[in-house]
């Protein structure tokens, strides 16, 4: 990591910030915070769009337009130079519509622009208020902003002509905007939604942008559900959420995360080529990711705002540099938040997960609520010794019922173990870089409060066994008590390098068993998501 710079530090690229908008607009005095969009930069004039098929505007907010002609307003930071530059577009979520939420991500836009990324934050305030179910509309607005950048990129006299790399786009949304980016990723491939054409004939679409990744900050989930079922994000997906979030107080985005790039039981070895990554931030709250929004938690509950913004800059900065600027080294931060320890605020605690596109499940647990088995095409057996192993549809993070099965392991004696014996001819571990396990502890009574859980991972080939303490790979934190409701059980991805096994004499070509040996804590309950060979 020494060769990489702190992604939260400003780069050396100069940039300008422009307001864009769709005049004529005349916001009333009560909406004076939006008056800045009355006079956008003359080079950055946009059009209006009709979102009436998706959303109404709050009838108690005096917007100077209707849902048939909402403006495309925003702030964009444009790097100096010829480009083409990748594009990142941020969207806020639901909030008091009399307060302009849009500038709240300028701190992130400015960071990205300084590294050579065109970065915008968009106005979706007209969909804010005491409403529900409008997140498809938010997604359409987000995509239409991307379309605006494509139009500028394709318009000869425009300052952005030829400067936007339309195959390198990151969309980021916060809160309901975070749910919406998932829908946007899904809509991006569609020619219509219901009876609404997205082919441009009625003004909306076409889209089909090259989305490098979709990032959600403390998102909601399933407030809008397509007729085809809950949205499965088809692009690489990243989600960040705070343990002290008192708005989206269940980890809704985790449900989105679990649906994305999950195992296809019919084709378990087939990958769609996308990654997913998650960061659970202890002591972060909801509103402090937006620099405008007042904190929703009482003083002293959440980490300081500056720390939370710094964490957003480190981790979203790393994501952006990795996927938009091909600085692959920053993927290490997604794979393991420990790679950012020198950059994150001192004392900040995290839980993270990462699933690589190149993976082979050894045990994914999605075969059903049966006894645990080794997952096909890997062949083997599962045995327990003083461990109660139960597959459950446990809502680890609260909220709506989950459809993802986890394996619950309970032990009450030192030396208890879960043992997977595998047929080495069905497990080509040598072609992967890591052995990966997702595991997390709960607040159940047999886990000591506020103490890290731990066990030993024993991996054997023939007569050689490597015994690796889980704690040497990562801390398994005790859940952070939430502002209300039950504590969330957030599993940590443990990544054991195959190279480390080789150094212990384990031959990955002849990998015969993997055991979780509970020899470091006398009692405990942990939840296991899956076990993979992965890169």
């Amino acid at each position: 990591m020494t060769s990489l710079n702190n992604p939260a530090s400003a780069g050396d690229v100069q940039f300008d910030t422009f307001l864009y908008g769709a005049p004529p607009l005349a916001y009333p005095v009560s909406l004076s915070q939006y008056a800045i969009y009355n006079t956008p930069d003359p080079a950055y004039i946009t059009g209006r769009i009709n979102v009436s098929a998706f959303a109404n505007l709050g009838a108690s907010t005096p917007w100077p337009f209707s849902n048939t002609n909402v403006p495309l307003n925003g702030h964009v930071c444009v790097p100096h130079g010829r480009g083409p530059f990748p594009l990142a577009v941020f969207a806020h979520g639901n909030h008091n519509p009399f307060e302009n939420s849009t500038p709240g991500y300028l701190y992130l836009c400015q960071l990205l622009a300084s590294h050579g990324i065109i970065a915008a934050t968009i106005d979706v305030n007209f969909l804010n208020g005491s409403n529900f179910g409008e997140n498809d509309g938010r997604a359409i607005v987000h995509l239409e902003h991307l379309k605006q950048f494509r139009t500028w990129n394709n318009t000869a006299p425009h300052p952005l002509h030829g400067k936007v790399d339309l195959n390198r786009i990151l969309i980021v949304g916060h809160s309901r905007g975070g749910e919406a980016v998932g829908h946007a990723s899904f809509f991006n491939r569609l020619a219509s939604i219901g009876g609404v054409l997205l082919d441009g004939s009625a003004g909306l679409g076409p889209y089909r942008f090259g989305l490098s990744a979709v990032a959600a900050i403390a998102p909601t989930d399933r407030q809008f559900t397509p007729v085809s079922g809950p949205t499965v994000v088809p692009d690489s997906y990243y989600v960040i959420h705070g343990s002290q979030d008192s708005d989206v107080f269940t980890f809704e985005g985790y449900h989105t995360y679990e649906r994305a790039h999950s195992v296809d039981l019919a084709n378990p070895t087939v990958s769609d080529g996308k990654f997913r990554a998650m960061l659970w931030v202890h002591k972060a709250n909801h509103n402090q990711f937006n620099s405008i929004w007042a904190s929703e938690t009482p003083p002293g509950v959440a980490m300081p705002r500056a720390s939370q913004e710094e964490i957003a800059k480190v981790h979203l900065g790393a994501l952006a540099q990795a996927v938009l600027l091909d600085r692959a080294g920053y993927m290490d931060v997604l794979r393991d938040h420990g790679a950012a320890v020198a950059w994150d605020p001192a004392g900040a605690e995290f839980v993270s997960q990462y699933q690589d596109p190149e993976r082979l499940f050894i045990q994914h647990n999605q075969e059903g609520l049966t006894v645990p088995v080794v997952s096909l095409p890997v062949q083997g057996t599962v045995a327990t010794d003083n461990v109660v192993a139960t597959r459950q549809l446990t809502a680890l993070v609260g909220g709506a019922p989950t459809t993802t099965i986890t394996l619950r392991l309970v032990w009450n004696a030192l030396g208890s173990r879960l043992l997977l014996r595998v047929d080495p001819s069905t497990l080509p571990a040598q072609v992967y870089k890591t052995l990966v396990l997702r595991v997390g502890q709960s607040t159940e009574a047999n886990n000591a409060a506020n103490r890290d859980q731990d066990f030993t991972l024993e991996v054997s080939s023939g007569s050689r066994t490597a015994a690796i303490p889980a704690s040497s790979l990562h801390r398994l934190l005790y859940p952070d008590p939430p502002p209300f409701g039950p504590a969330k059980i957030v599993m940590q991805t443990l990544r054991l390098p195959v190279e480390r096994l080789v150094k212990c004499g384990v031959d990955p070509i002849d990998l015969r068993s993997i055991a979780l040996v509970f020899d470091r804590r006398a009692t405990g309950t942990v939840y296991v998501g899956d076990l993979q060979c992965s890169n």
């Binding site: 009709n50 009436s52 098929a53 959303a55 109404n56 505007l57 709050g58 009838a59 108690s60 907010t61 849902n67 048939t68 979520g93 639901n94 909030h95 008091n96 519509p97 804010n128 208020g129 005491s130 409403n131 529900f132 179910g133 409008e134 809160s175 309901r176 219901g194 009876g195 609404v196 403390a218 909601t220 407030q223 809008f224 559900t225 008192s246 708005d247 989206v248 107080f249 269940t250 909801h286 929703e296 938690t297 009482p298 509950v301 609260g398 909220g399 709506a400 019922p401 502002p483 209300f484 409701g485």
Partner: protein
């Protein structure tokens, strides 16, 4: 901190209104899906609240018994949603309005969905069809209904 409390409903009324252009397109789409004609009427269900829920992201999903109302919007005195298919009232009138944040835990408002005045009247299909055009023109605009 305390978890958010569901909104309290003080009254519900259903008012027939003129469809917007988007409503008309939705009515046509729904009609084709259902394979039956639907009237060019939008029933606006106004749910008057003691206090509107704060404009946060989590929000409260509104159900009529177990049926999720997929979208609702804000007006001065509360929230409203629209119903395009009158059959909805035939199936759900008298059922309780409930709020939930997770689809598991429900809060019963104690208030029932009323039937629209027009839907409770019995008219022949032909008579309905004949009167439909002029009736639609006589209906108030949704913007007026929401004042």
């Amino acid at each position: 901190m305390q978890p958010p409390k569901p909104p309290k409903i003080t009254a519900v009324e259903v008012i027939a209104a003129q469809p917007t252009e988007a409503d008309s397109a939705a009515i046509a789409h729904l009609s084709a899906e259902l394979n039956r004609s639907l009237p060019q009427v939008v029933n606006v269900v106004k749910v008057r609240l003691k206090t509107k829920p704060p404009a946060t992201s989590m929000g409260w999903a509104l159900y009529v018994n177990d049926v999720l109302i997929p979208k609702y919007w804000e007006y001065n005195d509360g929230i409203y949603f629209t119903i395009l298919d009158p059959q909805f009232f035939a199936e759900h009138k008298g059922k309780r309005l409930r709020f939930s944040q997770n689809g598991v835990d429900f809060y019963d408002s104690g208030v029932k969905l009323p039937a629209p005045a027009a839907a409770s009247k019995s008219k022949s299909k032909a008579a309905k069809s004949k009167a439909a055009k002029s009736k639609t023109a006589r209906l108030p605009l949704q913007a007026d209904v929401l004042k």
